[in-house]
C-alpha cells in the first residue's frame, strides 16, 4: 500500500513553543528517559516549593503593607532565635554531609547524618516554642499587636513546613534501612535535601524580614 510521510513541523515552525523533537520520528526522549533533564521527584519538590514561595510572598506583602499603616509597634527578637538559627544552619550542613556519604555508597553514614539532621530539626522546633514562651513572658501574644500576630503566624507556618521536612527525613531513614539507596540511586535523598535547604533559607528570610526590614 502506498504511504505518505508528512513532515508536520517544517522549518522549525513550532520550536517557539518548546518542540524538542527533530526529524519525522519526532522522538525527543529515548525509552526510559524522562523528557526533561530534571527527575520527576525533584520536579515535584520544585513545584511544591514554588507554591510554598507564593504562600510566603502573600504573607510578606501583607506584612509589608501593614507596616506602613498607623499603630505599628515593633519588638526585638527573643534571644533564643539566634541559637535556633545556628541549629538550623548546622542541620543543613549535616544533611549535606549525609548526601555526600551516600554518593560514595556509605548507607550507614547516610543514616547517621539524617538522624542528626532530624534531631537538629526537632531541636529547632523546640527552640521556636521557647521563643514563643519568651515572647509570652514579655506580654506579647498572638493578638497583642500586628507585629506579634505576624511573628506567631509566620513562625507557625514555617514550623509546620519544617515538621513536614522531619517526616520526609524519617521516610528517607526508613528507605535507607530497607536498602533502597545506593551510590548511583538516591534521588529520594537529594529531593529531601532540596526541601530541607529551602526551609533553612526560608527561615533566614523570615528572620530578616521580621526584625531587620
Amino acid at each position: 500500500m502506498p504511504t505518505l510521510v508528512l513532515e508536520r513541523h517544517r522549518g522549525g515552525s513550532l520550536r517557539g513553543v518548546g518542540g524538542r523533537g527533530r526529524g519525522p520520528s519526532g522522538g525527543d526522549a529515548a525509552p526510559g528517559r524522562e523528557p526533561t533533564p530534571v527527575g520527576t521527584g525533584l520536579l515535584g519538590v520544585a513545584a511544591f516549593l514554588a507554591a510554598v514561595t507564593m504562600l510566603f510572598l502573600a504573607f510578606t506583602s501583607a506584612y509589608l503593607a501593614r507596616r506602613q499603616e498607623a499603630g505599628w509597634f515593633a519588638f526585638t527578637p527573643p534571644s533564643v532565635l539566634w541559637i535556633n538559627t545556628a541549629v538550623l544552619l548546622v542541620s543543613s550542613g549535616t544533611l549535606d554531609w549525609a548526601r555526600r556519604r551516600i554518593r560514595v555508597g556509605d548507607a550507614a553514614g547516610l543514616r547517621q547524618g539524617v538522624e542528626l539532621t532530624a534531631a537538629l530539626g526537632l531541636l529547632f522546633l523546640l527552640g521556636q516554642l521557647v521563643a514563643w514562651r519568651q515572647l509570652a513572658a514579655r506580654g506579647l501574644f498572638l493578638r497583642t499587636n500586628p507585629h506579634s500576630s505576624f511573628f506567631y503566624v509566620l513562625t507557625a507556618v514555617h514550623g509546620a513546613h519544617l515538621l513536614g521536612g522531619v517526616v520526609a527525613l524519617a521516610i528517607v531513614l526508613l528507605h535507607s534501612w530497607q536498602g533502597r539507596y545506593a551510590a548511583q540511586a538516591h534521588a529520594g535523598v537529594t529531593n529531601c535535601a532540596a526541601y530541607w535547604h529551602f526551609m533553612d533559607l526560608l527561615w533566614l528570610y523570615l528572620f530578616v524580614l521580621l526584625f531587620w526590614v
Binding site: 500500500m1 502506498p2 504511504t3 505518505l4 510521510v5 508528512l6 508536520r8 513541523h9 513550532l14 517557539g16 513553543v17 518548546g18 518542540g19 524538542r20 523533537g21 519525522p24 520520528s25 519526532g26 522522538g27 525527543d28 526522549a29 529515548a30 525509552p31 526510559g32 524522562e34 523528557p35 530534571v38 527527575g39 520527576t40 521527584g41 520536579l43 515535584g44 519538590v45 513545584a47 511544591f48 514554588a50 507554591a51 510554598v52 507564593m54 504562600l55 502573600a58 504573607f59 501583607a62 503593607a65 501593614r66 499603616e69 498607623a70 499603630g71 498572638l142 493578638r143 500586628p146 500576630s149 503566624v153 507556618v157 521516610i171 528517607v172 533502597r180 534521588a187 529520594g188 529531601c192
Partner: protein
C-alpha cells in the same frame, strides 16, 4: 519520595493484579478511577449549587411569596457562588477532566505521583462534607458572598446568624485549596516529565496545554488564597486584626480590633481570584479547540497562536487583579494601571475566538452533541468577553460595578463557557471511559434547551444591570427606578427554570447510557488523539503492552491524498488513497 514516582517502562499492566473493591473503587490510585470519583462528586455539587440558583430565582421573580427571608437569600447567593466555583468548576476541570485526560493524552501510565493523586481526592471530600455540614449548623451557612469580603466575614457580630457557617466555609475552602495544590503539582510534573516518546510540547493537544497552564496558575495562586483564609480564620477565632481597622462600631458596640486593612483581604483574594477565573476557562478553551477540530475534520487553525495566547492569558492573569477593585478606594493611579493590563487580555482572547471560527470554515462539520456544545461555547464566550470590555474600562465600571451587568458578564464568559466545555467534553470522552456512546437525540435536546436557557437567563441581566439594578439585593421594590424591572426578573427566572429542567435530559442520558448506550469502539469519533489509540475503556496502566510512540500532532485531519480523513498521532506513514498515489513520496 522517589518511591511513589512511576518509572514508566517498568510499570506494565500485568504488575497490577485484580484489586479489592476498596482499592479499586474507593482508595484507587488509578487516575481514571480518581477522575471518575472527582467527576461524580463535582456533578453532585453542581446539583446542589443549581438548587441554590433555583431558590434565588424563585424568590427574585416572585419576591412576595416568602420562599426566602433576607438572610436565607444571601446564604443561597453565597453558597451558589461558592459551590459552583470551588466545588464544581474548579475541581471538575482539574480533578475531573485533568485526571481523566492528562495521562491518556500524553501517553503515560498514570500521574507522576499516583498516591498523592489519591490523597488529593480524599482531601477534597472533607471539604465537600464541611460545606454541606454548614447548612445544618445554627444560623445556617455563610452568607457574605463567595468573595467573603472582610471585615463583614471577619466579625461575627456584623453578620446575621451565629457565624459558625462562615468559619466552616473558610475551613471547607482550605480543604479545596490544599487538594487543588496537590493536584496541580501532580499535573505539572506529569505533563513535563511523563510524555511518551515523540510527544514533544509542540505536539501536545490543546486540552493538555490548557490543563498545563491551569496547573501553573493553580500552583501559584492558590497559596495566596490559603494565606488569606488562614489570616481570616485567625481574625475570627483568635481575635487578631489583620483585616479590621481600629475604632469600629459593630452592632452598637465598640469592636476590640486594633487596626488592620480591609483592602488587604481584597488584594489577596483577587490576586488569587483572577487567575482562578482563568483556571476555569483555559482547560475549556483547550477542550473546545480539540472538539471543534475533530468534528470539523480539519486541523485547528493557528496551533502556535493558540498555545501562545493560552500562555499569554495565563501570564497576564497575575497582573490584572485590581480590576475587581476599581471602586474599592485603591489609589486611582493603580486603577489606571490595572485598566491598562486588563484590556490587553482582550487581544489573546480575540485571537482564540477567530481561530475557532476559522477552523470551522471549509470544514466538514459533524454535528454531534459534543460539537454543538463546543460551538455554543464560542458563542457564550464571545458574548461574555464583549461585555467584559465595558467593565475593563474603569470609568464605565464606575457605573456598572456590582450591578447585574457584571453578573451577566461572568456567567457568560466564565460559568456558561466553562459549563459548555465540560458538557462537550463529557459527550466527547464518555465513550472512552464508560465504553458506550451517549444518546444523541437526548443530547441535542439537552443542548438546544441549555443554549436557549443560558441566553434567556443571563442576557436580560445586561439590561437591568445597565438600568443600575445592583446584585445581591434581596428586594428592589424600595427603589423607584427599579419598580418596572419585575417582568424582566420573571422572564429570567422562567429561563433559569428551563435551564435547570434541561439538565434532567443530561442526567437521564448519562445514567441510561452507562448501561444501555450503544457500545463504542476504541475510536468512535475517528479522532487523532492518543487517548483513542488504546482500548475502550483503557486498562489500568492505560495501554496493553508498550506505550505508543508519537509521530505527529493530533490535528492531521483531511490530509490531502490520504486514505482516511484522520491520521492518529501514532501513525508514522500515512496510507494513501489508491487513486492519489502521486501525491507525496513514500518511504
Amino acid at each position: 519520595m522517589d518511591a511513589v514516582a512511576v518509572r514508566q517502562p517498568e510499570m506494565a499492566p500485568e504488575l497490577h493484579p485484580r484489586e479489592s473493591f476498596i482499592r479499586h473503587y474507593i482508595f484507587s490510585i488509578d487516575h481514571k478511577m480518581i477522575g471518575k470519583q472527582y467527576f461524580l462528586t463535582t456533578m453532585f455539587m453542581a446539583l446542589v449549587g443549581g438548587a441554590m440558583a433555583m431558590l434565588m430565582r424563585t424568590h427574585l421573580a416572585w419576591p412576595d411569596n416568602g420562599v426566602l427571608n433576607p438572610e436565607q437569600y444571601l446564604q443561597a447567593v453565597t453558597m451558589h457562588g461558592t459551590i459552583m466555583i470551588f466545588f464544581f468548576l474548579t475541581v471538575m476541570l482539574t480533578g475531573g477532566l485533568g485526571n481523566l485526560l492528562i495521562p491518556l493524552m500524553i501517553g503515560a501510565r498514570d500521574m507522576a505521583f499516583p498516591f498523592l493523586n489519591m490523597i488529593s481526592y480524599w482531601t477534597f471530600v472533607p471539604g465537600v462534607i464541611t460545606i454541606l455540614l454548614s447548612y445544618f449548623v445554627p444560623g445556617g451557612p455563610a452568607g457574605n458572598g463567595w468573595t467573603a469580603y472582610a471585615p463583614l466575614s471577619a466579625i461575627p457580630a456584623a453578620e446575621g446568624g451565629a457565624g459558625l457557617g462562615q468559619t466552616l466555609w473558610i475551613i471547607a475552602i482550605l480543604f479545596v485549596v490544599i487538594s487543588s495544590l496537590f493536584g496541580s503539582l501532580n499535573f505539572l510534573t506529569t505533563v513535563l516529565n511523563l510524555r511518551t516518546q515523540g510527544m514533544s510540547m509542540g505536539r501536545l493537544p490543546l486540552t493538555i496545554w490548557g490543563a498545563f497552564v491551569t496547573a501553573v496558575l493553580a500552583l501559584l495562586s492558590f497559596p495566596v488564597l490559603m494565606a488569606a483564609l488562614g489570616l481570616l480564620l485567625l481574625d475570627r477565632l483568635a481575635g487578631t486584626s489583620f483585616f479590621e481597622a481600629a475604632n469600629l462600631i459593630v452592632g452598637g458596640a465598640a469592636s476590640p480590633h486594633q487596626g488592620g486593612d480591609a483592602l488587604l483581604w481584597q488584594h489577596l483574594f483577587w490576586f488569587f481570584g483572577h487567575p482562578e477565573v482563568y483556571i476555569l476557562i483555559l482547560t475549556p478553551m483547550g477542550v473546545v479547540s480539540d472538539i471543534i477540530s475533530t468534528f470539523s475534520r480539519k486541523p485547528i487553525f493557528g496551533y502556535k497562536a493558540m498555545v501562545l495566547s493560552l500562555s499569554a492569558i495565563g501570564f497576564l492573569s497575575f497582573l490584572v487583579w485590581g480590576h475587581h477593585m476599581f471602586v474599592s478606594g485603591m489609589h486611582p493611579l493603580l486603577g489606571a494601571a490595572f485598566m491598562g493590563s486588563t484590556i490587553i487580555i482582550a487581544v489573546p482572547s480575540a485571537i482564540k475566538t477567530f481561530n475557532w471560527c476559522t477552523t470551522l470554515w471549509h470544514g466538514r462539520i459533524h454535528f454531534t452533541t459534543a460539537m454543538l456544545f463546543a460551538i455554543g461555547f464560542v458563542s457564550v464566550f464571545v458574548t461574555g468577553g464583549l461585555s467584559g470590555i465595558f467593565l475593563a474600562i474603569a470609568p464605565v465600571d464606575l457605573y456598572l460595578h456590582d450591578t447585574y451587568f457584571i453578573v451577566a458578564h461572568f456567567h457568560f464568559v466564565m460559568a456558561s463557557a466553562s459549563l459548555f466545555a465540560i458538557l462537550a467534553g463529557t459527550y466527547y470522552w464518555f465513550p472512552k471511559f464508560f465504553g458506550r456512546t451517549m444518546n444523541e437525540t437526548l443530547g441535542k435536546i439537552h443542548f438546544a434547551l441549555t443554549f436557549l436557557g443560558i441566553y434567556g437567563t443571563f442576557y436580560p441581566m445586561h439590561f437591568i444591570g445597565i438600568h443600575s439594578n445592583d446584585r445581591r439585593l434581596y428586594q428592589t421594590t424600595a427603589y423607584p427606578f427599579l419598580s418596572h424591572a419585575g417582568p424582566v426578573d420573571v422572564f429570567v427566572s422562567l429561563s433559569a427554570f428551563l435551564l435547570g429542567f434541561a439538565q434532567l435530559f443530561f442526567i437521564v442520558n448519562f445514567l441510561w447510557s452507562l448501561k444501555y448506550g450503544p457500545v463504542a469502539g476504541d475510536n468512535p469519533w475517528h479522532a487523532n488523539g492518543l487517548e483513542w489509540t488504546t482500548t475502550t475503556p483503557p486498562p489500568h496502566g492505560n495501554w496493553e503492552g508498550a506505550l505508543p510512540t508519537v509521530y505527529r500532532w493530533p490535528y492531521d485531519y483531511s490530509v490531502p491524498g490520504a486514505q482516511n480523513d484522520y491520521v492518529p498521532q501514532t501513525v508514522q506513514a500515512i496510507p494513501l488513497a489508491a487513486a492519489a498515489g502521486a501525491a507525496g513520496g513514500g518511504t
